[in-house]
Protein backbone atom coordinates (compact mmCIF):
# COMPACT_ATOMS: atom_id res chain seq x y z
CA UNK A 1 0.00 0.00 0.00
CA UNK A 2 3.08 2.26 0.09
CA UNK A 3 2.50 3.74 -3.35
CA UNK A 4 -1.06 4.65 -2.36
CA UNK A 5 0.01 6.94 0.46
CA UNK A 6 2.11 9.05 -1.90
CA UNK A 7 -1.05 9.76 -3.92
CA UNK A 8 -3.38 10.35 -0.97
CA UNK A 9 -4.47 13.96 -0.56
CA UNK A 10 -4.74 15.09 3.08
CA UNK A 11 -8.50 15.69 3.07
CA UNK A 12 -9.28 12.04 2.39
CA UNK A 13 -9.41 9.20 4.93
CA UNK A 14 -8.11 6.60 2.49
CA UNK A 15 -7.45 5.90 -1.21
CA UNK A 16 -10.86 4.34 -1.74
CA UNK A 17 -12.61 7.50 -0.57
CA UNK A 18 -10.37 9.62 -2.79
CA UNK A 19 -11.19 7.48 -5.81
CA UNK A 20 -14.91 7.63 -5.00
CA UNK A 21 -14.76 11.43 -4.79
CA UNK A 22 -13.07 11.57 -8.20
CA UNK A 23 -15.66 9.24 -9.71
CA UNK A 24 -18.59 11.24 -8.34
CA UNK A 25 -17.01 14.44 -9.59
CA UNK A 26 -16.60 13.06 -13.09
CA UNK A 27 -20.19 11.78 -13.16
CA UNK A 28 -21.45 15.18 -11.99
CA UNK A 29 -19.56 16.74 -14.90
CA UNK A 30 -20.95 14.11 -17.30
CA UNK A 31 -24.46 14.99 -16.09
CA UNK A 32 -23.86 18.57 -17.27
CA UNK A 33 -22.67 17.15 -20.59
CA UNK A 34 -25.86 15.08 -20.91
CA UNK A 35 -27.86 18.28 -20.60
CA UNK A 36 -25.48 20.16 -22.92
CA UNK A 37 -26.01 17.71 -25.78
CA UNK A 38 -29.54 17.01 -24.59
CA UNK A 39 -30.63 20.54 -25.38
CA UNK A 40 -29.46 20.09 -28.96
CA UNK A 41 -31.21 16.72 -29.23
CA UNK A 42 -34.39 18.40 -27.96
CA UNK A 43 -34.18 21.13 -30.60
CA UNK A 44 -33.53 18.49 -33.26
CA UNK A 45 -36.61 16.59 -32.02
CA UNK A 46 -38.94 19.58 -32.33
CA UNK A 47 -37.89 20.36 -35.90
CA UNK A 48 -37.98 16.72 -36.92
CA UNK A 49 -41.59 16.57 -35.67
CA UNK A 50 -42.43 19.70 -37.70
CA UNK A 51 -40.60 18.80 -40.91
CA UNK A 52 -40.52 14.98 -41.06
CA UNK A 53 -40.24 14.70 -44.83
CA UNK A 54 -37.44 17.24 -45.10
CA UNK A 55 -35.58 15.63 -42.22
CA UNK A 56 -35.83 12.25 -43.97
CA UNK A 57 -34.72 13.66 -47.33
CA UNK A 58 -31.74 15.45 -45.81
CA UNK A 59 -30.73 12.42 -43.74
CA UNK A 60 -30.43 10.34 -46.91
CA UNK A 61 -27.72 12.69 -48.12
CA UNK A 62 -25.43 11.53 -45.32
CA UNK A 63 -23.13 8.63 -46.15
CA UNK A 64 -24.64 5.55 -44.46
CA UNK A 65 -21.56 3.36 -44.91
CA UNK A 66 -19.15 5.93 -43.50
CA UNK A 67 -21.49 6.63 -40.59
CA UNK A 68 -21.79 2.93 -39.76
CA UNK A 69 -18.05 2.33 -40.06
CA UNK A 70 -17.35 5.36 -37.88
CA UNK A 71 -19.76 4.11 -35.22
CA UNK A 72 -17.95 0.75 -35.18
CA UNK A 73 -14.60 2.55 -34.96
CA UNK A 74 -15.76 4.62 -31.98
CA UNK A 75 -17.18 1.56 -30.21
CA UNK A 76 -13.81 -0.13 -30.71
CA UNK A 77 -12.06 2.86 -29.15
CA UNK A 78 -14.32 2.45 -26.11
CA UNK A 79 -13.22 -1.17 -25.89
CA UNK A 80 -9.56 -0.22 -26.01
CA UNK A 81 -9.87 2.48 -23.35
CA UNK A 82 -11.71 -0.02 -21.10
CA UNK A 83 -8.82 -2.45 -21.72
CA UNK A 84 -6.40 0.34 -20.79
CA UNK A 85 -8.13 0.70 -17.41
CA UNK A 86 -7.99 -3.07 -17.02
CA UNK A 87 -4.28 -3.04 -17.81
CA UNK A 88 -3.78 -0.38 -15.13
CA UNK A 89 -5.79 -2.43 -12.62
CA UNK A 90 -3.60 -5.44 -13.26
CA UNK A 91 -0.39 -3.43 -13.11
CA UNK A 92 0.58 -3.72 -16.78
CA UNK A 93 2.28 -0.46 -17.78
CA UNK A 94 2.86 -1.71 -21.34
CA UNK A 95 -0.82 -2.67 -21.58
CA UNK A 96 -1.87 0.80 -20.49
CA UNK A 97 0.35 2.51 -23.07
CA UNK A 98 -0.62 0.09 -25.83
CA UNK A 99 -4.38 0.38 -25.26
CA UNK A 100 -4.33 4.15 -24.80
CA UNK A 101 -2.38 4.39 -28.07
CA UNK A 102 -4.96 2.21 -29.83
CA UNK A 103 -7.72 4.41 -28.44
CA UNK A 104 -6.03 7.49 -29.90
CA UNK A 105 -5.58 5.66 -33.20
CA UNK A 106 -9.27 4.77 -33.48
CA UNK A 107 -10.33 8.20 -32.27
CA UNK A 108 -8.16 9.88 -34.87
CA UNK A 109 -9.53 7.56 -37.55
CA UNK A 110 -13.05 8.61 -36.58
CA UNK A 111 -12.13 12.28 -36.90
CA UNK A 112 -10.45 11.61 -40.26
CA UNK A 113 -13.63 10.08 -41.64
CA UNK A 114 -15.63 12.98 -40.21
CA UNK A 115 -13.31 15.46 -41.92
CA UNK A 116 -13.85 13.69 -45.24
CA UNK A 117 -17.62 13.74 -44.68
CA UNK A 118 -17.52 17.48 -43.95
CA UNK A 119 -15.47 18.11 -47.08
CA UNK A 120 -17.94 16.09 -49.12
CA UNK A 121 -20.86 18.06 -47.68
CA UNK A 122 -19.09 21.29 -48.65
CA UNK A 123 -18.63 19.89 -52.14
CA UNK A 124 -22.35 19.06 -52.39
CA UNK A 125 -23.32 22.59 -51.25
CA UNK A 126 -24.96 21.28 -48.10
CA UNK A 127 -23.11 23.55 -45.68
CA UNK A 128 -25.62 26.08 -44.29
CA UNK A 129 -25.06 29.64 -45.39
CA UNK A 130 -24.51 31.52 -48.61
CA UNK A 131 -23.36 28.42 -50.52
CA UNK A 132 -26.30 26.19 -49.55
CA UNK A 133 -28.18 24.58 -52.43
CA UNK A 134 -31.12 22.18 -52.15
CA UNK A 135 -32.53 20.22 -55.08
CA UNK A 136 -35.13 17.94 -53.48
CA UNK A 137 -38.90 18.46 -53.44
CA UNK A 138 -38.92 19.32 -49.72
CA UNK A 139 -38.50 23.01 -48.75
CA UNK A 140 -35.02 24.46 -48.66
CA UNK A 141 -35.26 26.36 -45.35
CA UNK A 142 -35.92 23.31 -43.18
CA UNK A 143 -33.32 21.34 -45.14
CA UNK A 144 -30.69 23.94 -44.31
CA UNK A 145 -31.89 23.69 -40.70
CA UNK A 146 -31.24 19.94 -40.67
CA UNK A 147 -27.69 20.49 -41.82
CA UNK A 148 -27.24 23.21 -39.20
CA UNK A 149 -28.12 20.62 -36.57
CA UNK A 150 -25.85 18.09 -38.29
CA UNK A 151 -22.79 20.33 -38.31
CA UNK A 152 -23.29 21.82 -34.83
CA UNK A 153 -24.04 18.52 -33.11
CA UNK A 154 -21.32 16.48 -34.82
CA UNK A 155 -19.04 19.49 -34.53
CA UNK A 156 -19.40 19.73 -30.76
CA UNK A 157 -19.01 15.96 -30.61
CA UNK A 158 -15.80 16.18 -32.63
CA UNK A 159 -14.52 18.99 -30.37
CA UNK A 160 -15.11 16.73 -27.38
CA UNK A 161 -13.14 14.01 -29.14
CA UNK A 162 -10.22 16.31 -29.89
CA UNK A 163 -10.05 17.29 -26.22
CA UNK A 164 -10.26 13.60 -25.33
CA UNK A 165 -7.38 12.75 -27.66
CA UNK A 166 -5.27 15.43 -25.98
CA UNK A 167 -5.99 14.03 -22.54
CA UNK A 168 -5.28 10.47 -23.74
CA UNK A 169 -1.91 11.59 -25.14
CA UNK A 170 -1.06 13.24 -21.81
CA UNK A 171 -2.02 10.00 -20.04
CA UNK A 172 0.39 8.03 -22.24
CA UNK A 173 3.23 10.36 -21.27
CA UNK A 174 2.35 9.90 -17.60
CA UNK A 175 1.98 6.13 -17.94
CA UNK A 176 5.40 5.81 -19.54
CA UNK A 177 6.84 7.70 -16.57
CA UNK A 178 5.38 5.05 -14.29
CA UNK A 179 2.80 7.31 -12.73
CA UNK A 180 0.11 4.62 -12.59
CA UNK A 181 0.01 1.22 -10.90
CA UNK A 182 -2.56 -1.28 -9.63
CA UNK A 183 -3.09 0.90 -6.56
CA UNK A 184 -3.51 4.20 -8.35
CA UNK A 185 -4.87 4.67 -11.85
CA UNK A 186 -7.69 7.14 -11.23
CA UNK A 187 -6.79 9.55 -14.10
CA UNK A 188 -6.94 6.67 -16.56
CA UNK A 189 -10.29 5.58 -15.20
CA UNK A 190 -11.76 9.11 -15.23
CA UNK A 191 -10.58 9.71 -18.81
CA UNK A 192 -12.21 6.41 -19.72
CA UNK A 193 -15.51 7.63 -18.27
CA UNK A 194 -15.27 10.80 -20.36
CA UNK A 195 -14.40 8.86 -23.52
CA UNK A 196 -17.29 6.40 -23.02
CA UNK A 197 -19.67 9.31 -22.60
CA UNK A 198 -18.54 10.85 -25.91
CA UNK A 199 -19.13 7.42 -27.47
CA UNK A 200 -22.67 7.29 -26.02
CA UNK A 201 -23.46 10.70 -27.53
CA UNK A 202 -22.47 9.35 -30.95
CA UNK A 203 -24.51 6.15 -30.38
CA UNK A 204 -27.57 8.41 -30.30
CA UNK A 205 -26.40 10.87 -32.97
CA UNK A 206 -25.84 8.14 -35.56
CA UNK A 207 -29.42 6.79 -35.88
CA UNK A 208 -31.00 10.22 -35.43
CA UNK A 209 -28.91 11.87 -38.16
CA UNK A 210 -28.09 9.04 -40.57
CA UNK A 211 -31.01 6.58 -40.26
CA UNK A 212 -34.20 8.66 -40.38
CA UNK A 213 -35.61 6.83 -43.41
CA UNK A 214 -33.50 4.27 -45.20
CA UNK A 215 -36.36 2.03 -46.38
Amino acid sequence: MSTTSTHLAPQFDDAEQQQLAATLGMWAFLATEVLFFGGMFAGYGVYRAWYPQTWADASRHLDLLLGTVNTAVLLTSSLTVALAVHAAQTGSRKGVVRNLSLTILFGAAFLGVKAYEYWHKWHEHHVPGATFEWHEASPSGPAELFFSFYFVMTGFHALHMVIGLGILAWLIVQARRGRFDAEYYTPVEMTGLYWHFVDIVWVFLFPLLYLIDRT
Binding site: G45, Q53, L83, V85, F204, D213
Partner: protein
Protein backbone atom coordinates in the same frame (compact mmCIF):
# COMPACT_ATOMS: atom_id res chain seq x y z
CA UNK B 1 -7.54 -0.66 -3.83
CA UNK B 2 -9.85 -3.68 -3.54
CA UNK B 3 -11.90 -2.96 -6.60
CA UNK B 4 -13.89 -5.32 -8.74
CA UNK B 5 -12.00 -6.13 -11.95
CA UNK B 6 -14.06 -6.91 -15.03
CA UNK B 7 -12.30 -9.55 -17.13
CA UNK B 8 -10.98 -8.86 -20.62
CA UNK B 9 -13.31 -11.58 -21.88
CA UNK B 10 -16.30 -9.76 -20.48
CA UNK B 11 -15.21 -6.57 -22.23
CA UNK B 12 -14.94 -8.39 -25.54
CA UNK B 13 -18.36 -9.99 -25.06
CA UNK B 14 -19.93 -6.58 -24.42
CA UNK B 15 -18.08 -5.20 -27.46
CA UNK B 16 -19.46 -8.05 -29.58
CA UNK B 17 -22.97 -7.27 -28.35
CA UNK B 18 -22.49 -3.61 -29.22
CA UNK B 19 -21.48 -4.49 -32.78
CA UNK B 20 -24.48 -6.81 -33.13
CA UNK B 21 -26.75 -4.01 -31.91
CA UNK B 22 -25.10 -1.64 -34.39
CA UNK B 23 -25.90 -4.05 -37.23
CA UNK B 24 -29.47 -4.32 -35.92
CA UNK B 25 -29.76 -0.52 -35.85
CA UNK B 26 -28.84 -0.24 -39.51
CA UNK B 27 -30.92 -3.22 -40.67
CA UNK B 28 -34.03 -2.12 -38.77
CA UNK B 29 -33.74 1.31 -40.37
CA UNK B 30 -34.26 -0.36 -43.74
CA UNK B 31 -37.55 -1.94 -42.67
CA UNK B 32 -40.64 0.21 -43.16
CA UNK B 33 -41.97 0.57 -39.61
CA UNK B 34 -43.59 3.98 -40.00
CA UNK B 35 -43.83 5.90 -36.75
CA UNK B 36 -42.33 2.99 -34.82
CA UNK B 37 -39.02 3.40 -36.57
CA UNK B 38 -37.83 6.16 -34.21
CA UNK B 39 -38.92 4.28 -31.09
CA UNK B 40 -37.08 1.13 -32.16
CA UNK B 41 -33.93 3.04 -33.15
CA UNK B 42 -33.85 4.90 -29.83
CA UNK B 43 -34.54 1.71 -27.87
CA UNK B 44 -31.57 -0.03 -29.47
CA UNK B 45 -29.41 3.07 -28.83
CA UNK B 46 -30.54 3.09 -25.19
CA UNK B 47 -29.57 -0.58 -24.91
CA UNK B 48 -26.11 0.19 -26.27
CA UNK B 49 -25.76 3.10 -23.85
CA UNK B 50 -26.83 0.87 -20.95
CA UNK B 51 -24.20 -1.74 -21.86
CA UNK B 52 -21.50 0.94 -22.10
CA UNK B 53 -22.51 2.53 -18.81
CA UNK B 54 -22.89 -0.72 -16.85
CA UNK B 55 -19.77 -2.51 -18.09
CA UNK B 56 -17.31 -0.21 -19.85
CA UNK B 57 -17.93 2.50 -17.25
CA UNK B 58 -18.01 -0.05 -14.38
CA UNK B 59 -21.30 1.24 -13.00
CA UNK B 60 -22.62 -2.29 -12.54
CA UNK B 61 -19.94 -2.93 -9.93
CA UNK B 62 -19.77 0.57 -8.48
CA UNK B 63 -21.07 1.85 -5.13
CA UNK B 64 -24.76 2.78 -5.10
CA UNK B 65 -23.93 6.48 -4.87
CA UNK B 66 -22.06 6.28 -8.17
CA UNK B 67 -25.03 4.49 -9.70
CA UNK B 68 -27.36 7.27 -8.56
CA UNK B 69 -25.04 9.94 -10.00
CA UNK B 70 -24.84 8.07 -13.32
CA UNK B 71 -28.62 8.09 -13.69
CA UNK B 72 -29.18 11.64 -12.47
CA UNK B 73 -28.22 13.41 -15.69
CA UNK B 74 -30.65 11.30 -17.67
CA UNK B 75 -33.45 11.98 -15.20
CA UNK B 76 -33.03 15.72 -15.79
CA UNK B 77 -32.87 15.06 -19.54
CA UNK B 78 -36.16 13.17 -19.34
CA UNK B 79 -37.71 16.17 -17.59
CA UNK B 80 -36.42 18.44 -20.35
CA UNK B 81 -37.93 16.25 -23.04
CA UNK B 82 -41.27 15.68 -21.29
CA UNK B 83 -41.91 19.36 -20.68
CA UNK B 84 -40.58 20.52 -24.06
CA UNK B 85 -42.45 18.02 -26.18
CA UNK B 86 -45.69 18.21 -24.20
CA UNK B 87 -45.64 21.87 -25.24
CA UNK B 88 -44.51 21.74 -28.85
CA UNK B 89 -46.34 18.59 -29.85
CA UNK B 90 -49.69 19.84 -28.53
CA UNK B 91 -49.72 23.20 -30.29
CA UNK B 92 -52.47 23.58 -32.85
CA UNK B 93 -51.82 27.20 -33.80
CA UNK B 94 -48.44 26.49 -35.37
CA UNK B 95 -48.68 25.65 -39.06
CA UNK B 96 -45.16 24.93 -40.28
CA UNK B 97 -44.35 24.53 -43.93
CA UNK B 98 -45.53 21.14 -45.13
CA UNK B 99 -42.74 18.56 -44.98
Amino acid sequence: MSRHVISRTAYFVVFGLLLVLLAATVLVAMIPLGDWSVAVALSIAALKAALIILYFMHVRHSPELVQVFSVAGFVWLALLFVFLFSDYLTRYDVTPLTG
